[in-house]
Amino acid sequence: MSGMPPELPTRRDEAWRWADLRHAERFLGTPPPANDALPETDRLWLDLAGPRALFVAGQPVGATAQAPAPDRGMPRHPLADLAAANASAGTRLEVAAGEDAGLVQLLHIGRGGAAHGVTRVVLGAGARLTLVESFADEGQDHWLNHRLDAELGAGATLVRVSRALAGRGLVSDRAAVRMGAESRLAHLSLGLAAGALRTEVEVLLDGPGAHADVDGILLGDGGAALDSLTRLDHRVPGTSSRQRWRLVAGGTAQASIAGGVAVARHAQKTDAEQSLKALLLQRTAVVHLKPELEIFADDVACAHGCTVGELDRAALFYLATRGVPPAEAEALLTLAFVADALAGLPEGALRDALDAETRDWLVRRTGGAAA
């Protein structure tokens, strides 16, 4: 990096008011220390077939992987721009028209300092790709700053899971997706007790008939700070989107979602649905839900709902009378609460694996036995 370090957003910016960027401030301009040891990654991959690539502190392990040029047509963004400027490696996934690239997993491990990464996806007409990007660490403080740029041709389908497993550091992941006519996006942000997480999804629905499911499950415990922001930008007539976010916070965790929907003046027949729900496991935890709707067209359907609640005590007692111990009952009810955020993913092995992972996390959190 040369010249003055770039400025990070602060909490005075409305879009960053709940973000915890302390790790970013601390590590901005600090590269990770040299360390050639290979991390233990077995438990971090989803047990699914398909190509895998591992990045440790921003560097590829095994093959070399030059950082792809970012998509200059995407909106400017302070952290995504920083990733583009500083990433020394990354992944470009280009799928030719009509091809199905199956499932690809990229695993990013943070290891002290700041590491930047870029993934660029280009899907031709009718092409398909499922991409699972996971972020984890080895218990050290760090900052993993990642950017995904995706361009979906007509009729293309992208399934992407942004899976944050980091325990100590900050993961900031921003996905920007431009969608062609009749294309499909299913995006899931999964935050499992990350120390600090900022997950953003911005979707430009540029082609008629495009449909995006942008869902999230944030499970925070201890002192986790999980922050998310979406913007579904309906820019042409006849597009649709659905957002389902389920936030669960225990301990002194903070979880937040600012769920945005924008409908341009001429984008008639937009059908946008948004459901933001939070569950407080303890009253020491904090959740923020902020629906943001900017609708400039008149012939549109934009439904939104927002609720914060606690576990149903009558249901907990009912489970207890049937012999289910409190920890297991809590996990079961919490899993039921988050389950519909998985519904945007296609049925099959990936969804089952994430469902099982969510269940395991909840059961571990409560110290109960598996159902």
């Binding site: 009558a314 007692f317 489970l319 009378t321 049937r322 289910v324 079961l332 009810l333 039921a336 609460f337």
Partner: protein, 246 residues
Amino acid sequence: MLEIASLHVTVDGREILRGLTLSVLPGEVHAIMGPNGAGKSTLAHVLAGREGYDVTEGTARLDGADLLAMSPDARAAAGLFLGLQYPVEIPGVSNLLFLRTALNAQRRARGEPEISGADFMARVRAEARALGLDLEMLKRGVNVGFSGGEKKRNEAFQLAMLQPRLAILDESDSGLDIDALKVVAAAINRFMSPDRAVLLITHYQRLLDHVRPTHVHVLVDGRIVESGGPELALRLEQEGYERHAA
């Protein structure tokens, strides 16, 4: 099997049970009858361990063990079942997952192996058929979208699946039409055996036409004021509880 001695219970600072004593032996079916507000549901809930029910005096033992010292789930694992008057709806948790989780939790607590998926489903099919419950319905959320009668059938289904030692059934007959009443009654009769017992809490005689009690008790103002055989229920049906009024 169940020994309750001089049980005093307060709810929100108000004494509801005032020295209730009751003994239930294996093979017995006890009916507890009484007017509204007598403490019938309080008895059911305090035995199951619901929070907010404070025992100020007395004891309750199940097979010699101190029931009141156990958590609600431990009571269930020890063989106690509470059929609720108002079964709870749990969206997002299917009836089958609920039941399998419960069954395996109880088995683990007793040091028994978990039930296999095949054995579980075979039992589900047999018991659901007997209770006229549709298997598709059981794949939906617990009690979600169930009519009042279906919820009570579902309680009877859970009773059949969990096979407790002692079933406390709180107003299992309320909200049932005559056909559903017969189905639930048949389930209770199928459940009964020489080493099990039932405590039926009811307002009315009509369930007792189908489940014959060995003992009938009248609960008024938190105490059992009269006990007898099945003939007592018939007399109450005719005379009401007036003669027991304080």
